[in-house]
Symmetry: D2
Subunit: 261 residues, 4 copies
């Protein structure tokens, strides 16, 4: 099999000096902070979506995105939008590497080299390095959800316990994929978890599902897609997940996976 | 010591028939869904904040709030706002009990009694029961964060690993407080976790911090506040957490706790 | 006929030091300013709507609202929301009088007394005076639109000329109602104009329609409603306007008007 | 002087079947409609701004933009965003011509050919024709405001009367520039009016200012800019307007205008 060059470009967004801002001159109302963070992520997701990337809310004051088809200097536009729309500003680091985690490492290091996130003087840094443009490569996306979540969880248990069960499954999955396959996975609402991965095969997804089931008793299914951007790969993954739901298969997707349909 | 009556009122918000909507007529763009969910939560937090409650994003398609000082029928206003602003609608269940988890149980049951979350015919249900008005009681809020998170995590490790570490600490804390003290705790951004609790004392918070440290190696600190609403209690908790940061104490807050200052 | 006490409460919102901000450190992107102003008005309308008032965008940096059922100090909440959501802050003046225009005069004077809108030191003023609480009174709302606008304008002429025609009709109507009846009227989108009035009768509305027709050749119709709040009166006015559309009548509404149905 | 090819591309956005929606199943709350319209325009301005265009709110249910550097099919992205964010959908017409008004005529005709704005079956039309790509041309932007508005109006008169005075000046200016110079001008907040024009000279702007002064007694000043996009021309115009403010000149801008500085 010929090697596929995978080049991932990952962006890390940090709200500048956010902790101190939230308590100056006195602690700001918690629901206002929740609203601000969520609105900022809503705008970030929209911005990244325009470049066919995927955005994850991370910890809200640190958000990230896998977005291959953007010239990193275009994040200046996002910084300008934030400055002109919000009471806070953001710094951005961008990194490229052959896996999502390595790329995020590079982005993190670039941002850290520009100063601490709590440094009041570090404002609106855009740390993009001098990477070559992203070569044509491929992104692999796995879109997971819980088998029959409504029947097994939502309609039976209270919202806190359902959330806890899904959070535990998410944490096990995210940790496993990060350690074993250098992938970035994230909860995206409901019972859905999305993983952005280097070029890994069906065995890896099978292992991940097994691992989560063994650790938590929760059964996941996954649709897998591949393409030049997170969006294209992710759309294929969603379609494949629909086939899981329809057929009862646990993994569906790209042609390297067991035949389906 | 005289017994304090604690009556918690908890609201559960569910997007109606959301799963099917996200894939009809074909899967919708993931970043649009992320943006929609985050915007909806931003509005929900603002709505709840106007009644001095606290809102948590839960799984985004299921959000909840602890909000004592609202007449449950006022959620009709939120439903109307959503209907007139978004392409989706929401159903709301409200419950009251002496602990947050019990109250959420009641809210969940009321909503489930009105039909499945995936039932295409269940739209804009407002299931509030016929509880007596909330009596004067008190809410206890614990506002946790990680000791020296910037120095120990943010500026040292990449964003994925910091997020994973905080997520693990969060999950352990949330699970523990739910099981041992019938409390609802939730990640609220950065390295912050907020717990809404019945009338528990400093020993409980100490146990929780110990537990998280033993399970994950992460050291938390907590400010504790008490008051008639989540907002009042939470503001006191935030101020107490500032004293932790200033003094190095691990727990600060209401006068029942070890003397501070 | 017994005299009806009409007490109007009007709020004026001004963005603090906005002109200088838009060009500091250099002129900000025009579309960002448009977006900011529109978002701020969207939030203001929502805030005012929660108190059953009506909000008008005015000149965007100066917005106003007729909102009887609010304690003026509640605008602190709106100021806090803006401070925690936007890169600008707002000052608020509130006035009461027997007509909308007089009430706005009072609000304007109170705000001007606190300093110029371009005074960099005037920030987040809340100038509410010490009026007595609003007595029970009644608001009269007229909801106007153009007779058969789609057939006569929208589908025939280009968008600029339709907009110009409607703007001219609006300006004539607003000026006339302000001069003759101390009313505040405002364009609210499409071909709709809303007037908030003291206790005036059908003859006044008839005069206004005649005046606009004589000056511009455009034929308006109006639904009129009365009630304790702008919202209640306005809802009645909208329902009456629907009856105009259905019956071809030019004025419909409160029982003092010519019998309808 | 060599002829400059001016090709303007104008987009017209219409909310589909909006009038009926606002009263179905019963009239929707006015402040919710205000909020919806303003939010939609905020998003439209942001979308257009990403392509260096200028957006105008028009009548809110009909908005337009001058946006040369966009492939018209890119409006599909805006339509998708609206569909996934709002309870309404939009249709879009795009036209090109040598003046803004002609281009908007073309856009209007294309949209009207696809069905009436009130036609319940006309949904998400994208009527872009088959124009050649926009050639390199130049846009002229005039950015007007009122001379010393704060001193002469804002701090002296009440907000309604200031707004009326500015609206009257705006209407006279917009009408004049539309009739004499095939230009699209629009109020953009405060005391600012922006005109997008074909290649007209300083005499035209001087005439316009004279006309407004003669009709309304209000004295305007204008900065003029020229460039390949509305944004570039508009930024130059803003800078020129700053020079008016600093020097007391009534017109400043491109080199064809009387020498400044």
């Amino acid at each position: 099999m010929e090697a596929v060059t995978t080049v991932m470009q990952v962006a890390l967004i940090q709200i500048d000096d956010y902790g101190p801002w939230t308590v100056t001159p006195e602690p700001r109302r918690e629901t206002d902070l929740q609203s601000l963070q969520a609105s900022l992520f809503a705008d970030f997701a929209e911005f990244v979506g325009a470049y066919d990337g995927y955005a994850f809310y991370g910890r809200f004051d640190n958000m990230y995105a896998v977005v291959n088809e953007i010239d990193p200097t275009a994040f200046e536009r996002f910084q300008r939008r934030v400055r002109n729309s919000y009471p806070v500003t953001v710094s951005v680091g961008v990194g490229r590497a052959s896996t999502p985690v390595e790329a995020l490492d590079v982005a993190s290091e670039r941002l850290q080299a520009a100063g601490s996130a709590q440094d009041g003087d570090r404002r609106e840094v855009l740390a993009v390095g001098s990477d070559e443009p992203v070569e044509a490569g491929s992104v692999t996306v796995g879109h997971f959800d819980v088998v029959d979540v409504t029947g097994s969880l939502t309609d039976r248990r209270n919202a806190v316990d359902v959330t806890l069960a899904i959070r535990r499954a998410t944490l096990e999955l995210v940790t496993y994929l990060r350690q074993e396959y250098d992938s970035i996975a994230h909860f995206v609402g409901g019972d859905n978890i999305i993983a952005v991965c280097p070029d890994i095969g069906p065995g890896a997804f099978d292992d991940a599902i097994e691992h989560v089931n063994a650790e938590t008793g929760i059964e996941l299914q996954v649709g897998v897609g591949r393409g030049p951007t997170a969006h294209v790969a992710g759309d294929e993954a969603k379609a494949a997940l629909e086939r899981c739901r329809a057929t009862g298969a646990r993994i569906r997707g790209v042609d390297k996976l067991p035949a389906d349909d």
